[in-house]
Symmetry: C2
Subunit: 288 residues, 2 copies
Amino acid sequence: MLFERVAIVGVGLIGGSFALALKEAKACGHVVGAGRSAANLRRAQELGVIDSIAPDAVAAAHNADLVLLATPVAQFLRLFREIASVLGPRALVTDGGSTKRDVIAAARAALGRKISQFVPAHPIAGAEKSGAEAASAGLFRDRRVVITALPENSESTVKKVQDAWSACGARIARMDAEEHDAILGAVSHLPHVLAYALVHEFASREEGPELFAHAAGGFRDFTRIASSHPEMWRDICIANSDRILEELRRYRKKLDALGKLLEAGDGAALEKLFAEARAARDKWIHSS
Amino acid sequence: MLFERVAIVGVGLIGGSFALALKEAKACGHVVGAGRSAANLRRAQELGVIDSIAPDAVAAAHNADLVLLATPVAQFLRLFREIASVLGPRALVTDGGSTKRDVIAAARAALGRKISQFVPAHPIAGAEKSGAEAASAGLFRDRRVVITALPENSESTVKKVQDAWSACGARIARMDAEEHDAILGAVSHLPHVLAYALVHEFASREEGPELFAHAAGGFRDFTRIASSHPEMWRDICIANSDRILEELRRYRKKLDALGKLLEAGDGAALEKLFAEARAARDKWIHSS
């Protein structure tokens, strides 16, 4: 057993799946959950995702060996402040936030010298569903978890947190927070923004119902991520806005270039671009 | 039986699935195929998609009761010209093209007074796979087929072609070609262009391999349609460029607005936009 008592703050898709996966791997003892929605916590307990409910993050973190923060990231600063005082000297903290620079800044501001006990993590797994109902023990299996370890972390601390994520079935990748936010800003945050924008554009129009009536599988898959949790994505967009704006700028440049090919009726150049994109995607699909 | 002899010109995903579906419904007798790739036609015959191979479209259309054109749309003008002379007075022609104004213009230019025998159709079904291998009898089941009937078509002619598509399991929708191209330009052609653009943008960068290494399920689904057939999508883009450019213009305006919210750090407005998009998509998913 890796951890006797695990506290999950935010028992949603990520937090709940972390609890279930640790339990399935027999890597933890008691799991206590805390969060904003009493109904969600009760449901989590009924489903066996958590063993008990704490009234707040402080109570959950009290005596915990491992605390996972898995709420939308804008709440992290407050949560770090709340748990700072009750965190035992051997307790570890990790998180499931999709952005890392802001999370680390919040931890530094709130945890003081206990910053060495926090090992930032981002499990690159998700779904357009949310809440404890959506949790599953297999969510992280064969998924990548990016660990953006801090200079203050000892290697044994990092290893313990990595062991927890590995026990969930995840594959560990290490990088620094800057690199993480740049990469995820491109391959995850930008597509979410693009998908939300497209659905919103059509929904805003008078002819919206007619458009949706003729949308098919391509549109459904392209926009799946536009059914993601709005508050979570609000926080990600605010936390990583500089990187997302940079990606948006580059993407709009690409669209401008593509628009020029359409205006010129340059079929050969369009076909070349499409073929190169298909080849790159197919290569990625077959290697991943 | 609806048709004794069916000719499929272009035995790919659409043409092959049409043949298989008609056979499964016992709605046709002999199916003859024609196309550019001899290897694909042989494979189609091995798989039982077609019963025989014709050397060209003229030979396939000779004595056919129904001809389906299912090649990329830029070939349609030539194909209409080729089959015009051999088309019997009772033979019907339909197509699987994703654009309709250009297809109708080509038919008018080539078919002369036989234009009344052509009933344009667009089955709104597809996949990122292509070729006879990808064909399946169930591709059109419960999918919408848009029929953009011509003033020259008699109702009985339209009905016979609709019956063929209905036999494939499709649901029939009627509209004019202008409306079709406007709607599909928005909900299908634009997302394809957006997905191709995103994959191409990342593949073009030096850090491309690093980006793809951290891409996950959201990116995979968002870009699924970027694995579509480049030549087919080149032709669609050229044929419907005015509508796609108009949609691109509107989408870029939406991205500009979203970029401004990111710059301003306006979390409330971002969350509202995301929530509205999610609600619109979820409503569509549950009703479709």
